[in-house]
Every structure is written in C-alpha cells, then in structure tokens.
C-alpha cells in the first residue's frame, strides 16, 4: 500500500508544485508590468 499512496501523493506534489510555480511567474510578470508603468 505504501507504493500506491506514494505514487498518488507524489503525482499531486508535482502538479501542485507546478501550479505554485505558475502563480509565482504570474506574480513576477505583474511586478514587471507595474515597473513598466
């Protein structure tokens, strides 16, 4: 069972990590737009 749970949990660690990285990039881009103004 530990391999099954590890596979499901790690899948979501990767996806949530990617979502967080997208959020960071959106934030950085907004700051760059603000600087341009």
């Amino acid at each position: 069972m530990k391999f099954l749970y590890a596979a499901y949990i790690l899948t979501w660690v990767v996806h949530i990590g990617y979502l967080l990285s997208l959020g960071q990039r959106v934030k950085r881009l907004r700051e760059e737009f603000e600087e341009k103004k």
Binding site: F3, L4, A6, A7, L10, H15, L22, L29, K36
Partner: protein, 226 residues
Amino acid sequence: MKNKTTIFAVLTLALLSWGLYQGLEVAPTESTMGDVQRIFYYHFGSAMTAFACFFANFIASLVYLARRDGKSDAVAAASAEVGVVFCTTVLIQGMLWAKPVWGIWWTWDARLTTTLVMWLIYISYLVLRRFSTSGQAPLMAAVLAVFGFVDVPLVYVSNRIFRTQHPQPVIGGGEGSGLDPSMWPPVLWNWLAFTCFALLLIALRYQLERARQRLDEQTVEGAAAR
C-alpha cells in the same frame, strides 16, 4: 472568460476527486499484484494526457513555422510544459509500480527508455526556450519540437514492436492483453479528469505566455521610441 475558467476548474476538481475515488475504492483489487496495480489508473491517464500535450505542441509548432504568430508559439510553449509535468508523473508512477512488482525501480527496456528520451527531448525544448537569448528562440524551438515529436509515436508503439518488460498495451494489444471490463470505468474517468486538468493548465500557461509576449513587445517598442 474568468467565470468560464472558474466553472471549468470546479468541474475539473470534481472529476479529479471522482477519478481518485474510482481508482482507490471502486476499482476491483487485481488478483496477482494486489492494490499496487491501482497506480495504473493514474499512470495510464497521465501518459495519454502527456501524449496529447506533445501532439498539441507538434501541431502548434507546425502552425508557428507556417505563420510565425505569437498565439501558436504560446500554445506550443504551454502544451510542452504541461506535457513535461505529466510525463514526469508518469515516470514517477512507473518506478513506484515497478519496485514492488518487478523488484527493481528501472530497467532499460524499449518502453521505459523511449519514454525517458521523450522526457529529455521536451526538457531540452523548455531549456532552449528559457535560456536562449536569440530572437530566433521560438523558431528554433518549433523546429526542435517537430523533429522531437518523432519519439512520441515510437513510445506509443514500443511495447507492440519490441519485446518489453513493460506490460502489454491496454488498447489494441492483441490476444492476452487488455483489461477486465470492471477496470475500464476508473481508467476512463481518470483519463478524462487528467485531460481536463491539462486543458486548464495549458489555458493558464497560455495566458501567462501571451502576457509575457506583450511585455516583451512593449519593451522593444519603448527602446525603439527612445
């Protein structure tokens, strides 16, 4: 637009929850492997989604080569990145299934090796996009994407044309392959859920890429005006 995205995100979350329930609770326990076989429900859905993302990247790259427009370049960037995310999870799930079933984390059989090569091709595609300082980066990336896509169908057919340690194909694998009918609903629900999730991620990443392109255009126009 924002409302539609929110509705789609809620629907996707519901589908993912339903898929998780199907994979862990509804699917029957496989007789020889036991519960660890349930990894397959995530593995198959993630793999098919990764293939679809790389196919989208291939088409968008061809369109970019024909038209040289920002939209197709943004679709190509978004689909490649999301494809790499799904391919990463496929490799992780596969290794976590292989250890208890085969007794090893990895073997260099045709399916696993071509999948790793595919992952490396698209990692190099993203590295090229990220670190190239040339204005030709989207063009070079599009060319790499078109040639790199050759490996994708090879991954798909690798366990049909080579003798592999990887299990036989689920779809169109011939005699002795395939799934028990009771296992299909969890497979299809998870496939649908991951496809919707990938579409959502591609839409978000596409918007980010388009905003980045607008910012770059403003920077160039600003420099030209000075």
